[in-house]
């Protein structure tokens, strides 16, 4: 095991208050209209939404508080069933990047309709081994293999576990 944390003293940002009613909520008015899955919804899934919250494996802060994920980092195209999440590791050599990416992917896999293709990337220029991480995160077989590894699965589950706050 590596001793000590990789980034011991991260900058913690405030959680942004989200105003939900701004969005067009057609549910009450028209039974047949369709709410397409949008950026904010995916972001909510990842961050603030439900009981569970993705956490940084190293810190008790959520990824939003560390600005690893922001609302703008999510791109969604509902018609093409495609979602791309670009995240920014806290430090350039963060070895946790793959774990964070894996968490994001697992969370989305569990929460989005199966038709979606999920694309996870590290923000350009924010990680030392950017290409390698991107490749690892988007290789179907490698992800499947990673999820076979009980230690990794446990870690991912830990990240996705509820934070009782």
């Amino acid at each position: 095991m590596v001793s000590g944390l990789i980034n011991e003293n991260p900058i913690v940002y405030e959680r942004k208050e989200r105003v939900r009613d701004v969005r067009t909520d057609s549910s009450n008015t028209n039974e047949l209209s369709v709410d397409a899955i949008d950026q904010l919804e995916v972001f909510d899934i990842l961050i603030a939404h439900h009981i569970r919250d993705i956490k940084d494996p190293e810190h008790p802060y959520s990824l939003e508080q560390l600005k690893v994920l922001t609302e703008d980092s999510v791109e969604v195209d509902d018609t093409k069933s495609h979602v791309r999440v670009t995240f920014t590791p806290t430090v350039e050599h963060c070895s946790m990047a793959t774990i964070i990416g894996l968490c994001v992917r697992v969370k989305l896999m569990r929460s989005l309709p199966p038709r979606y293709k999920i694309d996870i990337r590290v923000a350009p220029g924010t990680h030392a081994t950017e290409a390698a991480v991107n490749k690892q995160l988007n290789d179907k077989e490698r992800v499947a293999a990673a999820l076979e590894n009980p230690n990794l699965v446990e870690m991912v589950d830990e990240c996705l576990s509820p934070s009782f706050e």
Binding site: S27, I51, R52, P114
Partner: protein, 1674 residues
């Protein structure tokens, strides 16, 4: 108390400390009672108690004194002799010196000192003695909590009641008190302590007194608590809230001026801390101090305090101001607690000493603001710092101005001119004088900051007026200088504000806000000496009114102006300013009311109405004006529309009426006379209709009619009975003059009815509708003329399709004859008569309509309403109208609890059948109306028949109707013939169920749930029923969460889930899908086993819902999916819990307090996590018996084999990986003998879509056979390991923990299985006994074995079963016997060796049929099962050998290695033959003559994994080291002695092994051995008696379908052969499952090495593996 002996007895009880507290309390009560009654006198008591009070036994004496004290405490109000009190107090005072009895002494003193206002009070001298003695002897802080509290209370009492005596004591009492307080930490004690300090300060006010001299010490004692900080949990805090204690402390600190030199610096210091609580507390305390210490003492601190206040204000003020409506009358920004306290302190300071204002006046920061505000013109331009400055300064100034008149004057004198100057209202002339600037160019110089300050100051003055007026009748404010200043500038100020409002554009709300607020401030001065003259006031009003009328759209400015006007209106009304009221009326009210009437205005009509109603609601006078205006407006537009035919004029009427209903009606109770005005309004409505005889316009104006009806209903509803009567009379006059009475002519022919579609004239329709509204609103006491003909009128008109008529009829029926007193509705008609008219009035059938059914309906025959409903006569339209009408009448009857409603319900239900009684098919539309009729009957109607309209409502009427109709509907549904009728019946039922209170549904869940579910599936077909479906679904969701419904929900789980899964894709209504998913999520929380089999279906449905078009559904789906996936974690808390069995209670080790433990459930292939938390006092490990745990020996569990034990207080997370297990396995503890009580079953289910290879049973029954010792099992183990002999045999056998009635005290402790005839039960059984193989059978019932040890077997029918410890069996029980009899199930031992002691008792369980009606069964009808005899070896083994695997050809045919091992009992020599085994030796057991020694410091797995040497050897022999006739009757003694060693057998990965286990007859002739192997299941290929023969026996093996097990029984003096592939790397234990043999060493460990492949290696160790404590280099 009659006899002294009784008294003595009570005394004895009390002084005996071994008795329970309730005994003590009882005896105390008895003694007190007799004292109160006077049976016993105090003197007698004391004499009687003499011995207890003076004995040398410390404990008894202490108790005796305490008793006396307690008694006195209870007699507080009983008069006592002064002498007695004197001697008692003397006694207690003396006892204070004695620390053992101090508790009683203190309590006694307190009880006596507390005496007040009754005969027998402690004298001052005695009190002084008490205080002295206390000061001398009692060390308060060394006492217990309760005694300390008593001490403080005693001090408090003394100080409060004997001030003179205490003053005499002087220094002494102060010393004593401070000593007592020093170091106190308990909040309740501190509370009292703080009060004592306060009292002390009050006693010694003199500067030369003891308090003054000791002020510094005393202050130090109490100041250390400041600021109060609780470290306790919240639970403790509840006793004394922090606020109270903090208040007490603050009072103590401020109690005496002598504290001043110490307190103020401390408080100022704390104020500068960063802790908000400290700041708030300091500010509060400073305020107290300012008030108490006096001006002189405080003066020197002013500057410090002022700067502290400033800091607090600046740091706690936010810069965001709101310009909303709500802040118009408040400060406009939020204050936090610090801010509020700072403001309070400032105000107190100024109030105490006006000279404080001087500081403010001279403050540079304050002055600077005035220089800088002119820099920024508009609010938006100001930087945050500047905003903050303005806000804080305005606060400071307005607060200080508010404090007193003088300060107000000062502030105004200093600052107002400057302000005016900045605003440009005055200018400095060259000579330095300030002069008014003529024709000022105010508009160009609007400074936001200046305006704000100005307004704040003006509002402050207003408060000054009200406070000064309230407290004294000081001569007006006109004389005050501030007033004259305001007066001088009022004109220009108003101008400035006006221009601010008018110049502001809509995007700049700040200016408009300030302008309006300023005007409001100016308009709110009151009293004759107001600085604002009437003309100026009127100017303000005009400005605001013009703001309102000018606008054509709703803007912030408009709303602000309206709000300001409303404020002023209510202000005027509050202070009775008659002059201003006149102006208000003239300028505001009349303008607005005229706008209402004119309706030629640019302002939209709703806005006019809103403004008018808001403004006018401020005073009754205005309301009157408004109602008049409304009336006028209504009349003019009504006649304009109907008479002149102007279609536009009616448009505003509905809005007008709506305004009346929504704004005015709710305020009838508040405003006097409004009711009368409204009645007048209603009557003038009728007048208008009456006078407009001919309607030129034939357009009905639907909106208008509806609004008019609503208004009419509500006016009548709120009116008094007299007024109601007059309205009714008026209405009746109108109706009788119309053409309507012609319709009363009944009998009417059908032909006529048919012809009369909507044939009423517009006027008649309006009259009819309004009249119906009047009737609906009328109270039961109102008198209605000519009821009978009205009934007929309504009857005919609803048959024509006028629903209001039906509602009115329902309302009439509801209220008839219920009014009390002379005048009521029934004075000319009773309910009976009315019903008679309604139900039995005949309608003549015309000749022409009976064509379809001429045989039944003869020409000219008569028919009644019910028949029309059933469609015998008349058209479909008529039928549906009749049904709806009937429903309303029915509702009227139902609510008053009249029985006739049942007939109506029956008629309606008749309509729901597919055919009526005469065989005619009913039309779908009629059926639909009939179904909806139930909604009318059950739901609350807003339009009529509710409390607002005086309906008679009998309590629980819905429940009554529910219980009558549901059974009928249910049977109708069962017998329904067509799908349509079925659907309609379900609709009706859904209406009934969803409208009845939920509690009723919950009480009947069992019955209703199937109906609801059926209803849901029927209703989900058609989108028409979506609303009904939803309300029914809501009922279902209510039952899911309620505790009452839970049992039946659990029983019906599969049906509910099926139904809900369907609803998750219901296309027609989003909320249905959403609620469906929510319900599913709720269901997942039900007991796991019920839901587990359906998890897959749920998951599929929810996953599909992730793609739902609606966001809300998707959100629910995500939540539900997460709930699905988290069901894999369990927590096992191991702890000691007392259980009572066999007449005695003992503490046993349990998991989560349950014995036997909970059942775990999983799908085949699942992985579950079990967190074992050891909260017991001994080590524990957990084993998952029969779970192979591929590659994961870490979680297997045997103590010191695969892990070190979990120590008390620590946790370990077991990861249990299910792989090939199919049916039932189990879990148990695996350290020492702890598994005796720590065990439970694991149910494994086939993973869908795979299913069971045998018929699915209706129910599953867990059945655990166990053994029970009355002694602590730990002691049993200790004893036999120490002595070396046999362990004690158990005292009972148990079924699911119940011994059964054959054992003592166990009559009620008998397991009972309730079965229903013809159902099948799957018994999932384990033998969890420690040392016994068991026979088990159920009387008269065969058991079909379908699985053993977690794997399917070929079905085997058996009359009894044999089960060894550790084995599991799945048995199918078919309940096919006579249900009137009771059957017993029984289990007892199979034991082949008579030499060895064993438990030969029998445990009994009961099998009872629930369907049997006779609950009592005679003893003759009870059946006991037949069990084989104890030593019937052939019976036992014929059962074992009959079990075969379900699958063929699975066992390894070729083997790579054969290991033969003996399993035998041995003896070890003891020194001097001192052991208790045979011949004084120690019993042992061995495999291949090696008695296994369990490592004691590190486990074998860890030693293997981390290569720790010296823990085990690897030389376990593959063949018995000594070959002899293993089963001979006599064995040479030397064979008995084993070798003690820890030897393991290393196995290569993937080897095909055969292990032969050979029993021996050593020591006592042999016994059977149930051998269990961890980590594998094996095929039992051969079993035989005698010695195993390598060359012959393998040829007789069953290699085709051998049983696949994990525990096999080696027969007495026989052998078994097992085979398996060693494909599970790890350390695996093999041992005899008789725990005594295990303890003696009949064990071996196999280490299967890693293979080459990735999947052939041991998994890495878990991080939280329990640590071992060993000294080793590694």
């Amino acid at each position: 108390m009659a006899a002294p002996s009784q008294l003595t007895e009570h005394l004895e009880t009390f002084v005996d400390v071994t008795r329970s507290p309730t005994h003590h309390a009882d005896s105390l009560k008895a003694i007190v009672a007799s004292l109160e009654k006077g049976v016993l006198s105090i003197n007698q008591l004391v004499v009687e108690m003499d011995m207890y009070l003076t004995t040398t036994d410390d404990v008894v004496r202490a108790r005796g004194i305490l008793l006396l004290a307690e008694i006195l405490n209870h007699l507080k109000s009983k008069p006592l002799d002064n002498a007695v009190v004197h001697s008692l107090i003397g006694f207690f005072t003396a006892k204070l010196a004695e620390w053992r009895s101090v508790r009683g002494a203190l309590a006694g003193c307190l009880a006596l000192i507390k005496r007040k206002d009754v005969a027998g009070v402690v004298t001052a001298t005695d009190a002084e003695a008490v205080a002295k003695s206390m000061a001398q002897y009692v060390q308060v802080q060394s006492l217990a909590l309760h005694d300390r509290k008593v001490c403080f209370e005693l001090l408090e009492c003394l100080l409060e009641q004997y001030p003179e005596a205490m003053i005499n004591l002087g220094d002494l009492i102060v010393y004593a008190t401070s000593e007592a307080i020093d170091g106190e930490k308990d909040p309740p004690c501190l509370m009292v302590a703080f009060h004592t300090v306060e009292l002390l300060a009050r006693l010694f006010p003199s500067p030369s007194g003891p308090v003054a001299s000791m002020a510094s010490d005393l202050f130090e004692l109490i100041s250390c608590y400041f600021p109060l900080h609780y470290t306790h949990t919240k639970g403790d805090e509840a006793s004394i809230p922090r606020e109270d204690l903090s208040r007490g402390l603050s009072l103590a600190i401020s109690s005496t001026p002598f504290f001043e030199p110490y307190a103020i610096p401390l408080l100022l210091e704390k104020l500068s801390s960063s802790l908000p609580v400290a700041k708030v507390d300091s500010l509060k305390c400073l305020k107290d101090c300012v008030m108490k210490y006096g001006v002189n003492r405080m003066k020197k601190h002013y500057e410090d305090i002022w700067s502290a206040i400033k800091d607090a204000l600046y740091s706690s003020t936010g810069t965001d101001m709101s310009f909303g409506l709500e802040s118009l009358t408040s400060t406009g920004f939020e204050m936090d607690e610090i801010h509020r306290e700072a403001v309070n302190l400032l105000q107190t300071l100024v109030k105490q000493d006006v000279s404080f204002v001087g500081l403010i006046v001279d403050d540079t920061r304050v002055n600077m603001v005035f220089d800088t505000i002119s820099r920024y013109l508009r609010y938006e331009e100001m930087p945050d710092t500047s905003k903050l400055e303005v806000l804080v300064v305005s606060q400071i100034l307005s607060v200080s101005a508010r404090a007193s008149v003088e300060s107000c004057n000062m502030i105004f004198e200093t600052f107002f001119f400057r302000l005016m100057n900045t605003l440009g209202i005055v200018e400095k002339t060259s000579t330095g004088d300030l002069v008014h600037k003529e024709n000022s160019t105010v508009s160009t110089r609007l400074y936001h900051g200046g305006l704000h300050l100005c307004i704040e100051l003006l509002t402050a003055t207003r408060d000054i007026i009200s406070s000064s007026e309230e407290c004294s009748s000081t001569p007006g404010c006109a004389q005050q200088s501030w007033c004259s200043i305001v007066n001088r500038f009022s004109v220009s100020l108003i101008e400035a504000f006006t221009s601010a409002v008018q110049s502001s554009s809509d995007d700049c709300s700040a200016d408009a806000y300030l302008g309006v607020k300023g005007l409001l401030a100016m308009g709110m001065f009151w009293g004759g000496s107001s600085p604002v003259s009437r003309s100026e006031f009127e100017k303000i009003l005009t400005t605001l009114t013009s703001l309102i009328t000018a606008k054509s759209a709703k803007t912030v400015k408009w709303e602000l102006a309206l709000k300001a006007l409303v404020c002023m209106g209510s202000f005027i009304d509050q202070y009775h300013e008659s002059e201003k009221a006149l102006s208000y009326m003239g300028i505001v009210v009349e303008t607005l009311v005229s706008l209402v009437c004119s309706n030629h205005c640019s302002l939209p009509y709703p806005m006019i109405l809103e403004a008018t109603s808001e403004v006018c609601s401020t005073s009754p006078k205005y309301v009157e004006k408004m109602v008049q205006g409304f009336e006028e407006a209504f009349c003019s537009s009504f006649s304009d529309f109907y008479v002149n035919g102007n279609p536009k004029s009616i448009e505003n009427c509905p809005q007008l009426l709506e305004c009346v209903t929504n704004k005015l009606l709710p305020r009838v109770t508040e405003i006097d006379g409004l009711g009368k005005m409204l009645v007048h309004f209603a009557i003038s409505m009728w007048n208008q209709i009456e006078s407009s005889v001919v309607f030129s316009n034939d357009v009905t104006g639907r909106d208008f009619v509806e609004a008019a009806m609503k208004t009419m209903r509500q006016i009548v509803g709120v009116a008094l009975v007299d007024s109601q009567n007059s309205i009714i009379q008026k209405a009746y006059n109108v109706i009788s003059s119309s053409t309507l009475p012609a319709m009363k002519s009944i009998p009417l022919t059908f032909a006529a009815l048919e012809g009369l579609q909507r044939d009423l004239s517009t006027r008649d329709e309006l009259i009819l509708s309004l009249f119906a509204s009047v009737i609906i609103g009328a109270s039961p006491k109102a008198s209605i003329p000519d009821v009978k003909s009205l009934i007929k009128l309504f009857l005919v008109s609803f048959l024509k399709g006028y629903i209001p008529a039906a509602q009115a009829l329902g309302s009439m029926v509801n209220k008839l004859g219920t009014g009390s007193g002379g005048t009521n509705i029934s004075n000319n008609c009773s309910l009976e008569e009315a019903c008679d008219i309604i139900f039995h009035e005949s309608f003549a059938s015309g000749n022409d309509i009976s064509s379809d059914d001429s045989s039944k309906t003869k020409c000219g025959s008569e028919t009644v309403l019910a028949k029309i409903c059933l469609g015998f006569d008349g058209s479909l339209d008529l039928q549906t109208r009749a049904i709806t009408g009937l429903a309303w009448i029915g509702k009227g009857l139902l609510m008053r609890g009249d029985g006739r409603v049942n007939e109506i319900a029956l008629v309606l239900m008749e309509c729901l059948k597919s055919t009526n009684s005469s065989g005619n098919a009913l039309h779908p539309s009629a059926m639909k109306h009939a179904a909806d009729a139930f909604l009318i009957l059950m739901s609350d109607s807003g339009e009529c028949l509710n409390r607002k309209f005086h309906a008679v409502i009998r309590p629980l009427y819905k429940q009554r109707f529910f219980s009558i109709t549901v059974p009928i509907l249910e049977s109708l549904i069962v017998n329904s013939q067509t799908p349509l009728s079925r659907r309609m019946l379900h609709v009706a039922l859904a209406h009934v169920i969803s409208n009845v209170p939920v509690t009723v549904v919950l009480d009947n869940t069992k019955k209703l749930l199937p109906l609801i579910l059926e209803g849901l599936s029927v209703l989900s077909v058609d989108s028409v029923d979506k609303e009904t479906l939803f309300s029914l679904l809501l009922v279902l969701s209510g039952t899911l969460t309620d505790i009452k419904g839970q049992q039946s929900v659990s029983d019906n789980a599969h049906r509910i889930i099926e139904c809900l899964v369907k609803l998750t894709s219901y296309p027609h209504l989003m909320v249905v899908r959403e609620t469906g998913i929510q319900c599913l999520a709720t269901l997942l929380e039900l007991p796991h086993g019920r839901i587990y089999p359906f998890r897959r279906e749920v998951l599929q449905a929810v996953t599909k819902a992730l793609d739902d078009p609606k966001r809300r559904v998707r959100e629910e789906a995500i939540k539900c999916r997460e709930a699905c996936c988290t069901a894999h974690h369990y927590t096992f808390t191991v702890k000691d819990v007392p259980y009572k069995k066999l007449c005695s209670t003992k503490k046993i080790l349990t998991v989560n307090g349950q014995f036997p433990g909970q059942t775990l459930k999983a799908y085949k292939g699942d992985t579950i996590y079990v967190n074992v938390r050891n909260r017991a006092s001994e080590n524990i490990t957990m084993h998952w018996h029969g779970v192979e745990q591929p590659r994961n020996p870490w979680s297997d569990g045997p103590e010191y084999i695969t892990q070190c034990p979990i120590r008390p207080g620590s946790d370990f997370l077991y990861k249990v990986i299910f792989s090939i297990e199919d049916t039932t396995v189990w879990w148990h503890a695996h350290s020492s003998w702890t598994r005796a009580t720590v065990h439970g079953l694991i149910f494994v289910y086939p993973r869908p879509p795979k299913s069971l290879p045998f018929p699915k049973a209706d129910h599953e029954v867990p059945l655990i056979l166990g053994e029970w010792w009355k002694k602590d099992v730990r002691k049993v183990v200790k004893l036999f390991t120490r002595t070396g002999g046999d362990p004690n045999v158990s005292d009972a056998l148990t079924i699911n923990g119940h011994p059964g009635f054959l054992y003592p005290c166990s009559k009620s402790d008998t397991f009972e299985l309730k079965v229903e005839k013809t159902k099948t039960y799957r018994i999932r059984m384990v033998n969890a006994a420690m040392n016994l193989i068991l026979f088990f059978a159920i009387a008269k019932h065969n058991l079909a074995v379908v699985a053993a040890d977690g794997h399917y077997t070929k079905p085997l029918n058996a009359t009894y079963i044999t089960i060894s410890p550790g084995q599991t069996l799945d048995l199918l029980l078919h309940a096919d016997q006579n249900p009137k009899r009771t059957y017993y199930m029984a289990a007892r031992a199979y034991h082949s060796n008579p030499v060895i002691n064993f438990n030969n008792s029998t445990t009994i369980g009961i099998l009872r049929y629930t369907s049997s009606k006779c609950t009592k069964t005679s003893s003759s009808s009870k059946r006991y099962p037949k069990l084989p005899y104890y030593n019937d070896t052939s019976a036992a083994f014929s059962f074992f050998t009959n079990i075969t695997s379900l699958y063929s050809g699975q066992a390894p045919v070729k083997i790579s290695r054969r290991i033969i091992s003996t399993v035998s009992i041995n003896l070890l020599m003891c020194p001097n033959n001192s052991c208790e085994g045979p011949n004084g030796s120690r019993l042992a057991a061995s495999m291949n003559n090696i008695s296994f020694v369990t490592p004691s410091h590190v486990d074998i797995l860890k030693a293997y994994y981390y290569h720790i040497k010296g823990v085990y050897g690897t030389r376990f022999p593959e063949f018995p080291p000594l070959v002899f006739n293993f089963t001979a009757e006599d064995q040479p003694l030397f064979l008995q002695t084993p070798r003690l060693a820890t030897e393991v057998k290393m196995i290569k990965y993937g080897e095909a092994l055969e292990i032969v286990l050979q029993g021996t007859s050593l020591v006592g002739g042999g016994i059977d051995h149930p051998m269990h192997l961890h980590g594998f299941s094996f095929y039992v290929v051969g079993v035989g008696f005698g010695n195993y023969n390598v060359s012959e026996d393998p040829s007789n093996y069953n290699l085709e379908d051998p049983p696949y097990r994990n525990t096999v029984t080696v027969p007495i003096n026989g052998w078994v052969a097992i085979r398996f592939i060693a494909d599970n790397p790890g350390v695996w234990f093999m041992h005899c499952h008789f725990d005594r043999h295990l303890s003696w060493g009949m064990n071996v460990v196999f280490i299967v090495k890693n293979g080459r492949g990735r999947n052939q290696q041991i998994l890495p160790p878990p991080p939280d593996l329990p640590p071992c404590y060993y000294n080793s280099i590694v």
